[in-house]
């Protein structure tokens, strides 16, 4: 008799519970599918400032070197033993994956892909150092560096941070903490996405293809010109370049 008395309320509660449960489930917003698992994509791309660096062959490397190419850009230094070599091995994997599948150059607009390593340690990374270093990982990669204020003017607007840290070693007396993300620069010289560590190169290659499919056209077909944040006295030069 006692048990029967409890059956109804218990049953009622159970039904209520199931009802609440299912209604919550129905109202659930479907979880967004992560379209690019390895990448953070900017809704509004950030134009890189104008800059003048020197590449591993001693030739000037400027923002125009980013025009009509997709660029993987990575900031580091050659005295970096762990993070930078592994990052360059990963970038080499990505580059190799594109070559292997025959799409290093995008088909529709003929836009190529390049890898640019920028040293934030101009004090120790000379042109010769950079040449030998970068060729070890991939002979097609570009390495560049420049004056500290030029490097800072480039890194600051795109959120790349680095700082010198004293080491224990008296000979090489500092290390550099630095951002380890790969930046993806579009063919108009704008930061479009970045790949944060830990890097999964196969996934990055896949996501890069998707990003390229989606965004190459707007860079090549529209009237948007290759543009960048103007820094004072470059304006004349920019006009000259745009006239070409």
């Amino acid at each position: 008799m006692k048990t029967v008395r409890y059956v109804f309320p218990v049953l009622a509660l159970l039904i209520l519970g199931i009802w609440i449960g299912t209604s919550l489930k129905n109202n659930d917003i479907p979880a967004p599918i992560d379209e690019y698992p390895s990448a953070t994509v900017l809704n509004v791309p950030v134009p890189l400032p104008s800059f003048s660096l020197t590449d591993h062959n001693g030739i000037e490397f400027t923002q125009w070197g980013l025009s009509r190419k997709w660029t993987f850009m990575f900031f580091g230094y050659t005295f970096c033993p762990d993070v930078c070599p592994m990052a360059l091995v990963d970038l080499n994997y990505i580059y190799g994956n594109l070559i292997e599948k025959g799409d290093l150059v995008e088909e529709k607009f003929g836009v190529g892909t390049q890898v640019v390593f920028i040293s934030v340690d101009p004090g120790r990374d000379t042109v010769n150092n950079l040449k030998e270093y970068i060729a070890h990982f991939n002979e097609n990669f570009i390495a560049a560096t420049g004056k500290p204020d030029v490097i800072d003017s480039l890194t600051r607007p795109i959120g790349v941070a680095y700082r010198l840290v004293p080491g224990k070693d008296p000979e090489n007396n500092y290390y550099i903490d630095h951002s380890a993300s790969f930046l993806l620069i579009d063919p108009l010289g704008r930061l479009r996405a970045y790949f944060s560590p830990p890097h999964k190169p196969a996934q990055i290659a896949e996501d890069f293809r998707k990003l390229r499919n989606k965004y190459t056209e707007e860079c090549c077909r529209t009237s948007i010109r290759f543009n960048y944040i103007k820094l004072g006295d470059d304006e004349e030069e920019e006009e000259k370049n745009n006239e070409k």
Binding site: C80, P81, D82, N92, H136, S179, P198
Partner: protein, 155 residues
């Protein structure tokens, strides 16, 4: 009767001594010791391995040396947001019955100022010093960067 006991005691004693020798030396194992083939002008190279402590006591790696390098430090790469920091460590603890991996983006040996940069397939000799007083001799194998085509990822 007396001498028999003495023999037995000696036997037991020698077994115990033997065991303690084993525990001092053989209960630390090093697997997969490697380094990435570095550019010929590299001034620092990272060394990786897994150190396993099969003993019942915690062990600490307190120093590393190698004739091919000016000095060797124990480091940890730490991620703060997307910033990679390298933090020198005085020692590395290998807890009893467990293994610690030195791998890219984590703990590593920092091999400073190589006398010459070793090539793929070569090996470099290192000595690991533990707090127990035990020095272990190991070989680090040099692995290549595979250029231009898909390669095995080390993670």
């Amino acid at each position: 009767m007396k001498s028999e006991y003495r023999h037995l005691t000696l036997a037991v004693l020698s077994v115990i001594l033997c065991l303690s020798n084993v525990s001092a030396e053989d209960l630390i194992l090093v697997h997969e010791a490697w380094m990435l083939e570095a550019p010929t002008n590299a001034r620092v190279i990272a060394g990786y391995m897994t150190i396993e402590n099969k003993s019942s006591r915690s062990r600490r790696l307190i120093g590393v040396s190698g004739q091919d390098f000016e000095r060797i430090e124990i480091h940890q790469t730490e991620m703060q947001g997307d910033i990679m920091r390298m933090v020198p460590m005085e020692e590395l603890e290998i807890p009893a019955g467990s293994a610690v991996s030195l791998e890219p983006g984590s703990y590593h040996l920092m091999l400073i100022s190589p006398r010459s940069v070793p090539k793929e397939g070569e090996a470099v000799n290192l000595e690991l010093q533990f707090d127990s007083g035990y020095t272990m001799h190991i070989k680090l194998i040099v692995r290549a960067v595979h250029r231009g085509k898909t390669m095995k990822h080390f993670h």
